[in-house]
């Protein structure tokens, strides 16, 4: 989709939805966000990865929920009513991202995006597509591709 290139000479702006995961601030391209909804209990899927929280009913559709904090290696989220599910869509497939809170909508010039430094030991490294600085804070732009669960069904 829009994720393919982070070019520094592009003057156009990227609109991002930023949210909090644990103590860290992340964001996704707002074009991939379908809706934001409150936390409802998910039905756990047996034998799934720990970061797959289960599935919820999104108006008749089955929506898998990814615990983003767990996925990013920050630790499983203790869910309360204040947690938020961001429904994102990529390549026709929807998933819900469980986050702590949604913070803001930001317009960032593409020229201010930086590729993440190549630190192999960083577990969350591959999940971050780019970095930028907003009001002195570091904002991570999530790479949705890598967040998506591996499709077991396709391999079998």
């Amino acid at each position: 989709m829009t994720d393919h290139a982070v070019s520094t000479d592009d003057r156009s702006e990227l609109e991002l939805l930023s949210f909090r995961v644990g103590e860290q601030e992340y964001s996704v391209d707002i074009m991939s966000v379908r809706e934001i909804r409150g936390w409802t209990r998910a039905t756990p899927l047996p034998h799934s990865e720990p970061y797959v929280r289960g599935v919820i009913n999104l108006r008749g559709a089955v929506l898998p929920i990814i615990d983003l904090s767990c996925r990013l290696g920050i630790g499983a989220t203790e869910t309360t009513e204040r947690n938020v599910i961001i429904v994102v869509q990529m390549e026709g497939q929807s998933i819900g991202l469980l986050v702590d809170a949604v913070s803001d909508i930001l317009s960032i010039p593409r020229s201010e995006l930086q590729a993440p430094p190549d630190i192999l030991s960083d577990a969350a490294h591959s999940f971050v597509r780019a970095l930028t600085v907003v009001e002195g804070r570091m904002l991570r732009i999530l790479d949705l591709h890598s967040v998506y669960p591996q499709r077991e069904g396709n391999a079998a």
């Binding site: 756990p44 899927l45 047996p46 599935v55 008749g60 669960p149 069904g153 079998a156």
Partner: protein
């Protein structure tokens, strides 16, 4: 919408599919020894109708092939050729080629000329005649030209003229036919003198504008035979009185008797209008839903050829309006083209459909998307109704109150609606089976074995999606049966079997599922060989003790192929493992039964529909799950003394002198650890098709209800032991258990050393 021709063309191809099916049916009936005139006629008409339509669309390859095919078939129809085995094989092959050409024409693909020519050559050899060249004429036809115009160009008149008396019935007009086209087609056969008889015409004030009064007498000077003359009237067979007399070998025949009771359900049937009353153009044709109700289809599809106001002009004896208009001799191509506008062609189409549908029930063609939308909506309705019931229950309304009783009725209705909607999607497996007969023919030719396909239960109805997705695995299984299952002719003779092998394809409904079986009467699975290969390929450790059924199931292992040489047919690297996984994706399972020297049977068991399921709602480890009702044999409550331990963490249930593995559902699904004691637990006894049983421990049984299946595949992927998900009355998602998958996973784990042997599915 934008291009009416494209839509007409599309509906022509849909019609072709139906005609091909009718042709296959007819051929199969003939092959089965049913060679009466009507069966042969059905085949002939199917080919002829395709030829006609194809001519209208300028599909030359199709016309050319269909024409020669039809010519040979006519030989059989006329009794000059016996439909022996070789002829039938050729006819089948020709039908296959014909369907290839239809498909190639539809998709604009390349036609395999060599194959076409070879079959054409054989057809001609069979007919024993020189190839006819006249069919090339069709190219310059306008689209929508009437089919029957195409047959031949006028030739030098010989012998004495034929006398043809043609009296249209009211149905002829109400089904959108047009005498003028017939007369022109007739005139194209030779020198025609056409006289319109108005003897029956009442005075104007006594005239019923919708009743036919006109008759035509034609004196036709042609070298064509009676059959060709009658062929012109093929589409109006039974809805007119036709007498053909005179001619070179002119015994007078009685009027064609059959089909005369075609239901004429339309009141606005046209008057016996002459050519002045040409029907409106193609935009008058509604094509979204094609009613193929015999004759009645004109109501929806096309205005009747004339409205009463035009009738006087039509019946007036002026030469211009009279059907005698084509003066003498042949009708020029241009003449034919403008006369037979869109309406004429469509009329021919309706007649064709009416013929095809004459013996079947009225049907409606609907866009599949609409049906799917309806299915989805009904699914939502079911969920909604469940939520409503739950709220009513929670509100503490007594069950004898009008609200509860009304709700009860509502539930019943919902269920009925759901069943009916599901029936819309259901289709007989016949079309699938017909495709398989082609596979058998091709496969048997490729390996040079004589094979006959027997089919049973063709009328069994299955969800359309299931049918579509079953085609590939079934093709593979049929090929396997022909290639590996059946022995060679010599071996069969040596074993005292008839040389011709039989592959039997059956479909049947069995306890809420559809069971499709592919059986061959071959040598059965060579188990030592299978085992040896599996060991050679390192699929199983050597010397492992295996039961017969475990050895049979080795066939489903990836990378397994018994044929030591890769034959022409199978062995393309796609094995039974792929067949099994595609069946499993449909929620089905496949089992093998084989007896040495007698044959092998593969059984596929499939759910009737992919949309709803009767399930038992249970709780396990704090989660709600749905167990398909079909899998549950009985439910019971456990007593400690019934449980026997057979190893660390392995228990069996002792029930009526049998031992059944005991599985704690919550443990299997990783919801919690094993319990200290299972005393008093609720147990579901589940059983697979092959009889393997297991006892599932659950916390409690909630209720029994119908659930709407929501696939997990698309949104998440395959979850072991889980078939799908559903939405319960409280809006929560519950997972639907796949007991067989669960059992086979457990079986695999329990053996530990050979995890790849979990093949019981």
């Amino acid at each position: 919408m934008s291009d009416p021709m494209a839509e007409i063309r599309a509906s022509f191809f849909i019609e072709c599919e139906e005609l091909l099916e009718a042709l296959q049916d007819g051929l199969a009936a003939m092959d089965g020894g049913d060679t009466d005139a009507e069966t042969i006629n059905i085949c002939f008409r199917a080919v002829h109708s395709m030829k006609g339509g194809a001519g209208a669309f300028g599909l030359e390859a199709l016309v050319r092939f269909a024409h020669r095919y039809e010519t040979v078939m006519d030989e059989i129809r006329a009794g000059r050729l016996a439909p022996d085995r070789d002829a039938m094989m050729l006819f089948f092959r020709a039908a296959d080629v014909l369907s290839d050409i239809v498909r190639a024409s539809r998709d604009g693909e390349h036609i395999d000329e060599a194959e076409v020519e070879s079959v054409l050559g054989q057809l001609e050899a069979l007919a024993g005649g020189a190839p006819e060249e006249d069919e090339e004429e069709v190219a310059d036809f306008q689209p929508m030209g009437l089919a029957i115009d195409l047959d031949s160009t006028p030739e030098a008149p010989t012998d004495e003229p034929w006398t043809i008396r043609f009296v249209p019935h009211a149905e002829l007009f109400s089904s959108g036919n047009e005498p003028q086209h017939l007369l022109r087609a007739l005139a194209a056969l030779g020198e025609a003198q056409i006289v319109c008889r108005q003897d029956d015409l009442p005075p104007l004030d006594g005239l019923d504008p919708e009743a036919p009064y006109l008759a035509w007498e034609i004196s036709l000077d042609t070298d064509k035979g009676e059959a060709e003359i009658r062929e012109v009237f093929d589409f109006v067979d039974g809805i007119c009185t036709l007498e053909v007399s005179g001619g070179p070998r002119g015994p007078e025949l009685p009027p064609l008797p059959d089909l005369s009771d075609l239901p004429g359900t339309i009141d606005d049937a046209s008057a016996p209008a002459g050519p002045a009353a040409a029907p409106p153009g193609p935009d008058g044709t509604a094509r979204r839903i094609t009613l193929s109700e015999p004759a009645g289809d004109t109501a929806g599809d096309e205005p009747a050829p004339a409205d009463p106001l035009q009738t006087p002009g039509g019946k007036a004896p002026e030469p211009a309006g009279s059907p005698a208009a084509p003066p003498t001799g042949s009708a020029a191509p241009g003449d034919r083209a403008d006369g037979s506008g869109a309406g004429g062609g469509a009329g021919g189409g309706e007649a064709r459909q009416a013929q095809a549908a004459a013996q079947t029930k009225p049907t409606v063609r609907v866009d599949l998307e609409r049906v799917d939308r309806l299915v989805n909506l009904v699914g939502e309705l079911v969920i909604n109704q469940a939520m409503l019931s739950q709220s009513v229950q929670e509100a503490g309304i007594p069950s004898n109150s009008p609200v509860s009783q009304g709700l009860e009725e509502f539930m019943q209705l919902t269920r009925d609606i759901q069943d009916s909607v599901m029936m819309i999607r259901a289709q007989p497996v016949k079309s699938l089976f017909q495709r398989m007969s082609r596979i058998v023919r091709e496969a048997s030719a490729a390996v040079d074995k004589r094979v006959r396909l027997k089919t049973e239960g063709e009328a069994t109805e299955v969800d359309k999606t299931v049918i579509e997705r079953l085609a590939d695995p079934l093709t593979h299984m049929i090929r396997n049966a022909v290639d590996h299952g059946l022995e060679s002719g010599e071996k069969r003779r040596a074993a005292g079997k008839p040389e011709e092998g039989v592959v039997t394809l059956t479909a049947a409904h069995r306890s809420g599922r559809v069971v499709i079986e592919v059986a061959d009467d071959g040598g059965g699975i060579n188990r030592p060989r299978v085992r040896q290969i599996a060991e050679e390929k390192g699929l199983v450790p050597e010397g492992l003790s295996m039961t017969d059924s475990e050895i049979d199931n080795l066939l489903f292992m990836p990378g397994f192929s018994t044929a030591s040489q890769i034959s022409d047919l199978s062995g393309r690297g796609v094995g039974m493992d792929v067949v099994r996984s595609s069946i499993q994706e449909l929620g089905g399972r496949i089992t093998i039964a084989s007896e040495p020297g007698v044959g092998t049977t593969f059984s596929i068991s499939l759910p009737l529909t992919l949309a709803v399921l009767d399930g038992m709602v249970v709780r396990a480890g704090g989660e709600t799950l749905v167990v398909p009702l079909g899998a549950i044999v009985e439910t019971l409550s456990l007593a400690d003394e019934e449980i026997r331990s057979i190893g660390p963490g392995r228990n069996v249930l002792h029930i009526r002198d049998a031992f059944v593995p005991l599985l704690d559902l919550a443990v299997e699904l990783d919801y919690r650890g094993p319990l200290e004691s299972y005393d008093g637990s609720v147990v579901l006894l589940i059983q697979q098709e092959d009889g393997a049983r297991a006892a599932l421990v659950v916390d409690s049984i909630e209720e029994q209800r119908q659930v709407v299946i929501k696939g997990l595949q698309d949104s998440y992927g395959h979850v072991p032991g889980i078939a799908a998900a559903t939405i319960l009355g409280d809006g929560q998602i519950a997972l639907i258990l796949d007991p067989v998958d669960l059992m086979s996973n457990v079986a695999g784990r329990s053996r530990g050393a050979v995890p790849s042997l979990d093949l019981a599915g």
